[in-house]
């Protein structure tokens, strides 16, 4: 997994609430192999018409945001389907962090396991970041995972929370599977207790 330490990049706003993972990656792309170009399919049906013509006012098509590496989302960002492919699409496009007031639970879990950082900030803070992005498209903001802060282009600092171990995995670029496997004996002991009917 790719490390996440600090990120200084443009933030592209997706202002709507309840953006679902069917929008982020439509179902007809779900059969694509893990290493296929999911980024090319990110928001496919919002980003382009049926013939592939770009929708001019879709945020990813606007100057300043084409290469944004941070996304700003509305409430309940990436709700719906558990498809991890939605994370692969964002990551494949180059997005490394999403800042929103809340996330679909499954998406937020999938994200951190792929080096994509979901940052929960209060709705007012996200609204301020979006307003700033609209006013200055392409202006960079900074996310510092070790310090657990988002610094707006105007210098405002927003602290955020994250589980300690998740933070460790992202900072080091390791996943939790090796850690769990190192506890195989605890799992075996649990299974023995279960077999004896003590659970």
């Amino acid at each position: 997994m790719e490390r996440f330490t600090t990120l200084h990049a443009a933030a592209v706003p997706f202002a709507r609430d309840n953006i679902d993972t069917d929008q982020i990656l439509p179902a007809r792309f779900l059969h694509m192999a893990r290493d296929a170009d999911h980024g090319a399919c990110l928001f496919r049906d919002l980003r382009a018409g049926p013939d592939g013509t770009e929708v001019a006012d879709f945020p990813l098509n606007r100057p300043g945001w084409r290469d944004a590496r941070i996304a700003l989302g509305g409430r309940n960002f990436a709700c719906g389907s558990s498809r991890e492919n939605a994370v692969w699409a964002l990551h494949g496009h180059g997005i490394r962090a999403v800042i929103a007031p809340s996330f679909g639970d499954i998406f937020a879990i999938n994200a951190v396991k792929n080096g994509l950082l979901p940052v929960v900030l209060p709705a007012e803070a996200v609204a301020a970041l979006m307003a700033e992005a609209e006013a200055h498209p392409g202006a960079a903001i900074t996310i510092d995972l070790a310090a657990q802060t988002v610094t707006a282009a105007d210098g405002t600092v927003h602290p955020f929370d994250i589980d300690g171990f998740t933070r460790h995995c992202l900072l080091e670029g390791v996943d939790e599977l090796a850690f769990t496997l190192s506890h195989a004996e605890d799992i075996a002991a649990f299974e023995r207790r279960m077999d004896r009917g003590n659970i």
């Binding site: 779900l30 059969h31 809340s102 879990i109 999938n110 605890d186």
Partner: protein
């Protein structure tokens, strides 16, 4: 780990959570043991990740598989799938289960079906179990008093390798629905009403326990419909306390315990319901008498109205961002502000899915279809949720009712709920669907989906428009 001191009252969720704790990390996340792992024909990426890491599967006997997302519903012949990429998905599951000795309900097997239909049907889903599956509608299984939730592919890999999963403990929410249900009101209408009430984000970070007289009065299949859509309110899981309805449903099913084991299990299951003094982080009360047959109008399951109501007017929305979002939805869905819910002509009907593809759903739809005919210009499909549901329906003659009424009678699979198998509508088509999501493009690019109960979908099919089923039922 023995049950904790009974002195502290616990919710049903907490009892199951406590029983499955293997370890706790310093940051508070808990390693939970997974009793049953359901997989489907979209699970290949997890097997691939496992292969790349050279890891074995820890407990193949705890995994159960069936192809549902990519299977065609006009044939049971895998080689007949014209798109090689989709065929490869179905074939990859065959290969993976053969390689690892995983129990499979294959495409031509008598037990095949949508994973969330066959779990309860086979008796794999049982009270007190912890179950996961790479599909967000895994919340379905909570209807039997299991703790069940959808996971992503990396988590599937983790469960394959360790039979465990790290989780942060969710908060709890009890939704009590009390009072008698009106005519034509089903579990689908209850859950659409609940989502409209608490919102698509209403239960994020929470496990819902549904309670109250209206819930206790639901059949097992109604409860499965209810819990199925918990994820549409953002919930981690949805649950109903097991009771005689649950036990009667489960007894004698292929994977249910038998004899002395049944008696031991039953004694355990009776201790599962939340303790009387258990505290929930949130409580929501719903008056069942206020629930009417309900449809959705927009692109979120929270956009629901009573069938005798009106679609809202974006002009009434005070927040400019939300008003703009609503206006976009109106354009996409082809709606006029304030129009009656029954003013919508439809092109297609889809009856099926893990939400409403069970035998009671097909009976309800057939009761409306019987003696009537699908309206001119409308294409109507009935897709049973499983092969056993299909056989049962045929034994009851429901297939003939549907066929005589002009419906297509198809094989089991997810089909047009999400169209991963290529079964989608055409751009601009308006579909009355019994599935769970009305997201933009869910049933195909440009397709307009309205969610409703099976009887309401059948009523739409025979009238060619969204219709109050109570008017047909009276006729």
């Amino acid at each position: 780990m023995p049950d904790q001191d009974a002195a502290a009252p616990r919710t049903m969720f907490e009892k199951i959570w406590d029983r499955h704790r293997v370890l706790e990390r310093p940051d508070g996340q808990v390693l939970l043991y997974v009793d049953r792992h359901l997989i489907h024909d979209g699970s290949e990426p997890a097997f691939d990740m496992l292969r790349r890491r050279g890891l074995p599967i820890r407990a193949p006997e705890r995994i159960f598989a069936t192809p549902d997302h990519y299977v065609p519903t006009d044939t049971r012949d895998v080689t007949a799938i014209p798109n090689p990429a989709l065929r490869a998905m179905v074939e990859s599951l065959d290969r993976n289960v053969a390689e690892h000795g995983i129990h499979m309900f294959g495409l031509k097997d008598e037990g095949q079906g949508i994973v969330h239909v066959i779990g309860p049907e086979q008796g794999l889903t049982q009270p007190g179990l912890l179950m996961v599956c790479p599909d967000s509608h895994t919340s379905t299984h909570g209807a039997m008093g299991a703790l069940a939730f959808g996971i992503g592919m990396t988590e599937v890999t983790h469960v394959l390798a360790t039979q465990t999963l790290w989780q942060r403990k969710p908060a709890t929410m009890r939704i009590s629905v009390d009072g008698p249900l009106g005519a034509g009101v089903t579990a689908k209408d209850i859950i659409l009403h609940i989502i409209a009430t608490i919102g698509a984000e209403g239960a994020v970070g929470h496990v819902i326990e549904y309670a109250g007289s209206a819930i206790r009065g639901l059949s097992m299949e109604g409860r499965l419909t209810l819990c199925n859509m918990s994820i549409e309110a953002g919930a981690r899981a949805g649950m109903v306390a097991p009771d005689e309805t649950t036990f009667d449903y489960l007894k004698g099913r292929p994977f249910a315990p038998r004899g002395a084991a049944w008696d031991r299990s039953l004694a355990q299951w009776r201790r599962l319901p939340s303790d009387p003094d258990a505290r929930f982080d949130r409580e929501v009360a719903i008056d069942a008498t206020t629930i009417a047959p309900t449809i959705t109008w927009g692109n979120s399951p929270q956009d629901a109205v009573a069938i005798d109501g009106h679609i809202p007017d974006p002009a009434d929305e005070g927040d400019p961002e939300r008003r703009a979002a609503m206006q976009d939805v109106f354009v996409y869905m082809g709606l006029a502000p304030g129009m009656a819910a029954t003013d919508l002509p439809i092109d297609r009907v889809f009856i099926g899915s893990c939400t409403n593809g069970r035998i009671e759903d097909l009976r309800a739809a057939a009761a409306i279809a019987r003696g009537r005919h699908v309206a001119a210009g409308v294409t109507a499909w009935v897709v049973p949720g499983s092969a056993p549901v299909k056989r049962q329906a045929e034994a009851e003659g429901l297939d003939r009712v549907f066929l005589e009424a002009g419906f297509d009678w198809r094989e089991a699979g997810c089909s047009m709920c999400l169209g991963t198998n290529g079964e989608i509508g055409a751009p601009g088509e308006r579909i009355a669907a019994t599935s769970n999501r009305n997201f933009r493009g869910r049933q195909g690019p440009g397709v307009r989906t309205h969610l409703m109960s099976p009887a309401m979908a059948a009523a739409a099919a025979v009238t060619g428009r969204i219709t109050d089923v109570r008017r047909l039922a009276e006729a």
